[in-house]
């Protein structure tokens, strides 16, 4: 029972330190040949916190005559802690290498007991496998992993969709309470930050546009610039990025914490499908709130643009309003709306998947949250590029 022994040892060590009262200053040692033996004299206080700890050199036993024992003299030894043991361990290993006979029994008993707990030869750490640079293998592996992930996310999405259909028929595993709490976290709670960001984006667009358009005395077109940019791109992308950081990260952290706490295992053992119980409400919440937040973002963005134009440029409110309506055909809204729906579903699915795949330690929760945010943001921008190409092809 090593734990109990060690407790005893520590107690003995403490006791010895209290009993020894001599304060001899810096820790010192020296080797002294005598008749038929060699004496190692230890003196001073060996306290790690006070520093200046001596080393035992590898050649320390070179002058010891063959076959003669090495003994210790500890009469002048003051207080000591594990720093002395560390020194003695070094000395013991050197003695072993040089085939010197060490009379451990001449040490104080508590020091000897501690020394006995230590292995004679410290284990050599296994050498790490040499890291080879294999670009082809790495690219291949990355491709396989990525394809695998795409497959897993799709499978999960399909399972969640199936769970959603079952819920419509009334045999679902999703609880309304969970859906409601996810909806409120992904919707109303995000209004403020989505509003602030989109207002500023709209204002910035108006600033940038006004500089150029003013040269042509086309100030009024700031309205259409802001409107088209917000509705077509900025509101959808900015809102998705905010939600990836806010809600996606939260989903990944929540699910990976559940994983670490065996809560996911408990669900599986009960036969409660994770896809419809846990993932479906999260994805539904994002897929439902994201388009609404998008519309809200558009409105606030245009408001930001109007605010700047009204103050900086010579644009009347009615003119701005009229120009905005002129510039916006409905299909721009439809396009942005569909985009934000896809972004919401994408963020929901990937962050849940990353949470489920995470390891089971506290560090893994952080890694999962970071990863979900990164994948969410990069994915949203990549998807947006795909949408831009599609829009170009079908001519919206």
């Amino acid at each position: 029972m090593p734990p109990r022994n060690r407790v005893g040892e520590v107690a003995a060590l403490r006791l010895e330190r209290l009993v020894k009262t001599s304060v001899n200053g810096a820790p010192q040692w020296h080797l002294q040949p005598e008749a038929n033996r060699t004496l190692v004299t230890l003196s001073g206080d060996w306290i790690a916190q006070q520093g200046h700890l001596p080393d035992f050199p590898e050649s320390g036993f070179r002058d010891v005559p063959h076959g003669e024992p090495v003994e210790f003299s500890t009469d002048q030894l003051g207080k000591w802690d594990t720093s002395l043991i560390s020194f003695l361990w070094e000395l013991k290993r050197t003695a072993r290498e040089d085939n010197v006979q060490l009379r451990i029994d001449t040490l104080p008993e508590s020091a000897r007991k501690l020394l006995d707990l230590l292995p004679e030869i410290p284990p050599t750490p296994a050498p790490l496998p040499p890291h080879k640079f294999q670009p082809v293998t790495a690219v291949g592996q990355l491709t396989l992993d990525t394809l695998n992930e795409v497959g897993c996310v799709s499978e999960m999405g399909a399972a969640a969709a199936k769970g959603g259909l079952a819920a419509l028929v009334g045999r679902g595993m999703m609880r309304t309470v969970d859906l409601m709490s996810d909806l409120s976290a992904a919707g109303p709670a995000a209004l403020l930050i989505v509003g602030v960001v989109n207002f500023l984006v709209g204002a910035i667009l108006a600033f940038v546009g006004s500089v150029e358009l003013h040269k042509f005395a086309a100030d009024i077109y700031v309205a259409s610039l802001v409107a088209i940019a917000m509705v077509r791109e900025m509101s959808a992308v900015m809102t998705a990025i905010i939600m990836a950081g806010r809600t996606g990260g939260a989903y990944a952290a929540r699910i990976s914490t559940m994983q670490a706490n065996e809560e996911i295992d408990a669900l599986q053992v009960f036969g409660i499908p994770v896809s419809s119980y846990l993932i479906l409400p999260s994805v539904l919440a994002l897929a439902f709130t994201m388009p609404l937040l998008y519309l809200y973002g558009c409105l606030i963005g245009m408001l930001g643009g109007f605010f700047v134009s009204y103050i900086m440029l010579d644009v009347s409110p009615l003119g701005y309003f009229h120009e905005t309506l002129q510039a916006l055909p409905l299909d721009q809204f439809t396009f942005g709306f569909i985009k934000s729906l896809v972004f919401g579903t994408f963020i929901g699915l990937t962050s849940c998947r990353i949470g489920l795949k995470a390891g089971r330690s506290a560090a893994d929760v952080g890694i999962a949250a970071t990863k979900a945010v990164v994948v969410g943001i990069v994915g949203v921008i990549a998807l947006d590029a795909v949408f831009a190409v599609i829009a170009n092809v079908i001519g919206i």
């Binding site: 029972m1 706490n261 065996e262 809560e263 295992d265 408990a266 053992v269 009960f270 409660i272």
Partner: protein, 267 residues
């Protein structure tokens, strides 16, 4: 070598594990493990830390597919069927996880109620009544509206036990029930387990290395060894303590240090 308790038990076999091999990738955790658990017995899976006890339990509750071997729950082959059949068989299981694994977003009462809400068509007030009954059995009725984070370790385990019983399973799995509990709480949990077995007639499989509790409650068991990666002894903890001659088992059961020269080479 004397490492198999002579069996006089004629209760019907509830669980039959035959030549099961468990591995993560190419790393074998345990190989060729075979044992039978009879109805109404408290079966202990013993062994030192890291020998694969919890992994074996994981595979028995359906979280890890064995690479080889069969696992029968009465007449059903657990791993040969599809997901649906596994869920159906798994409905007979109740599991108490090491940390309790209560769903942290729900109160204790909701935790116990959730499986019933999912899998039965009971009225809400009947469910509430059953939840109160189950929490009452484990002495946790006072905590019905508390969240898991507000509970102590022992309370979480007891609440986890109530949840494990929520669908009235006839096979209960306990993963280190007394780990991290003080002796009094742990003794009370032992008493509770015995009462549940006697009262509900459940079959209980318990993973533990808590000797005092094992001697007290278990009437059959298996000893897994980390070095040989397989079962090295079968029998109740008391029998293994008194009769088993395997040095590892002997040292384990008597809380002795293992003489390193004799721990190997007795396969």
């Amino acid at each position: 070598m004397n490492n198999q308790m002579p069996s006089t038990d004629d209760r019907p076999v509830m669980i039959d594990v035959n030549d099961v091999t468990l591995a993560f990738g190419s790393r074998v955790i345990q190989h060729d493990v075979s044992f039978q658990v009879r109805r109404g017995s408290i079966f202990a899976v013993m062994g030192g830390s890291g020998c694969g006890k919890s992994t074996l339990l994981k595979s028995m509750i359906g979280l890890l597919r064995p690479t080889h071997g069969t696992y029968m729950v009465q007449k059903d082959n657990y791993w040969s069927g599809d997901d649906e059949s596994r869920v159906r068989i798994g409905r007979r299981f109740g599991v108490l996880f090491q940390s309790g694994a209560l769903w942290s977003s729900m109160t204790v009462g909701e935790n116990v109620a959730l499986p019933m809400q999912m899998f039965t068509r009971l009225e809400p007030h009947v469910i509430r009544q059953l939840v109160e009954l189950k929490l009452g059995l484990v002495g946790m009725l006072h905590a019905i509206d508390q969240y898991p984070s507000e509970l102590s370790g022992g309370m979480r385990k007891r609440a986890g036990l109530a949840r494990a019983m929520s669908l009235d399973p006839d096979i209960l799995f306990f993963d280190e029930p007394s780990a991290g509990l003080d002796p009094i709480t742990s003794a009370r949990l032992d008493e509770l387990i015995l009462n549940l077995r006697d009262g509900l007639g459940a079959t209980i499989i318990i993973v533990s290395h808590e000797l005092s509790s094992l001697f007290h409650i278990a009437d059959d068991g298996i000893f897994l060894d980390a070095d040989q990666k397989t079962a090295i002894a079968h029998g109740s903890p008391t029998w293994l303590r008194d009769h088993c001659t395997d040095p590892t088992v002997h040292a384990f059961m008597h809380r002795e240090q293992l003489d390193s020269s004799s721990s190997h080479g007795n396969g």
